[in-house]
């Protein structure tokens, strides 16, 4: 679908880290702010390399941007819900990184909502793992904070 070369002469070529070339329309490309600024900076006929964005994540982003523009306003919510639902936790994380890097504003609106819902009852340990965060508190610092906020820990999900 997205990988098929477009006949349009002004399509933008994007090369993912795993070596797949995507040709996208300027309308789609310009919805990724990072790409937009690269198109401005370079000759648009040049293939734009995207190290660290893989084909899966780029194809999901394109799927979203194309799908969203193709649907009516009333169908957008349904489309978005299905789009997010189809992603596993790991895919969600990878896509967040890609979306953050490429600055896809539409998805930067939608994804935080989904992730916020997902993490609201999760444990601190789950969050560190999910976000790849190193705990930089000393054990005694952490114990002190946990004591101060112990009242907030009712009803946390099991990991």
């Amino acid at each position: 679908m997205a990988e098929k070369a477009s006949e349009s002469s002004n399509s933008i070529s994007l090369n993912t880290v795993d070596g797949k070339i995507f040709k996208v329309s300027p309308t789609i490309a310009n919805q990724m702010q990072t790409i937009q600024s690269l198109i401005k900076a370079y000759d648009s006929s040049r293939v734009i390399s995207l190290p660290h964005v893989n084909a899966f994540h780029l194809s999901k982003i394109i799927e979203y941007l194309e799908g969203k523009s193709a649907t009516t306003v009333s169908a957008v919510k349904e489309f978005e819900a299905q789009f997010m639902k189809d992603l596993s936790l790991k895919q969600l994380k990878g896509l967040l990184i890609a979306v953050g890097y490429l600055k896809v504003n539409e998805l930067l609106e939608l994804m935080p909502k989904t992730v916020a819902k997902l993490i609201e009852n999760k444990s601190v340990e789950f969050l560190r793992k999910f976000f790849g965060i190193v705990n930089d508190f000393t054990p005694s610092e952490e114990a002190k904070i946990r004591e101060e906020i112990a009242w907030a820990f009712d009803g946390v999900d099991e990991d």
Binding site: T34, L38, S49, L50, P51, H52, V53, K93, L96, I97, V99, G100, Y101, L108, M111, P112, K113, V115, A116, K117, I119, E120, N121, V124, L127, R128, F131, G132, I133, V134, N135, D136, F137, E142, I145, R146, I149, W151, A152, F153, D154, G155, V156
Partner: protein
């Protein structure tokens, strides 16, 4: 996108150790979730969860305690969370649903709020706790309601 304004926060943001040095963004893309995206996510999380998330790492604690973030959180989340707080004159009936992050961090009233949340967290009312609140707590609570909700 909201940035943390307080100067010392920038130092604490370095605690996300995965962050590569800033350089050419094309050739050094982030293999981590950008902090701005994390801010967007956390601004949509209910207050009670956010309080727990303060012990994830130093940068999260700084972010969650930041007054600008609290304002962002309030403007993002208030459409989805209504405060449900009813107290009658005899303090014998108390119910709390949701509440703003800012109210929890306003030192003048935070202790009262925390006590109320404790009651709420157990899903039951304990007369003893309510009696331990300051005499003018009812007035202050009403004030919070008017100011924040």
């Amino acid at each position: 996108m909201s940035q943390i304004s307080d100067g010392h926060d920038n130092n604490n943001n370095n605690s996300l150790k995965n962050e590569p040095p800033h350089g050419d963004s094309l050739h050094a893309p982030p293999p981590f979730i950008p902090f701005e995206v994390i801010t967007e996510i956390l601004s949509r999380v209910p207050v009670k969860s956010l309080i727990q998330f303060k012990c994830v790492c130093k940068s999260w604690k700084t972010l969650i305690s930041d007054s600008e973030f609290a304002r962002k959180h309030l403007s993002t989340i208030h459409h989805h969370h209504n405060l449900l707080l009813t107290i009658n004159d005899n303090f014998d009936n108390l119910l709390i649903g949701s509440y703003s992050l800012q109210s929890v961090f306003e030192t003048a009233i935070s202790n009262q709020i925390k006590k109320l949340l404790r009651v709420s967290g157990r899903g039951m009312y304990e007369k003893r706790q309510v009696q331990s609140l300051s005499p003018n707590y009812h007035m202050k609570t009403n004030k919070i309601l008017q100011m924040k909700f």
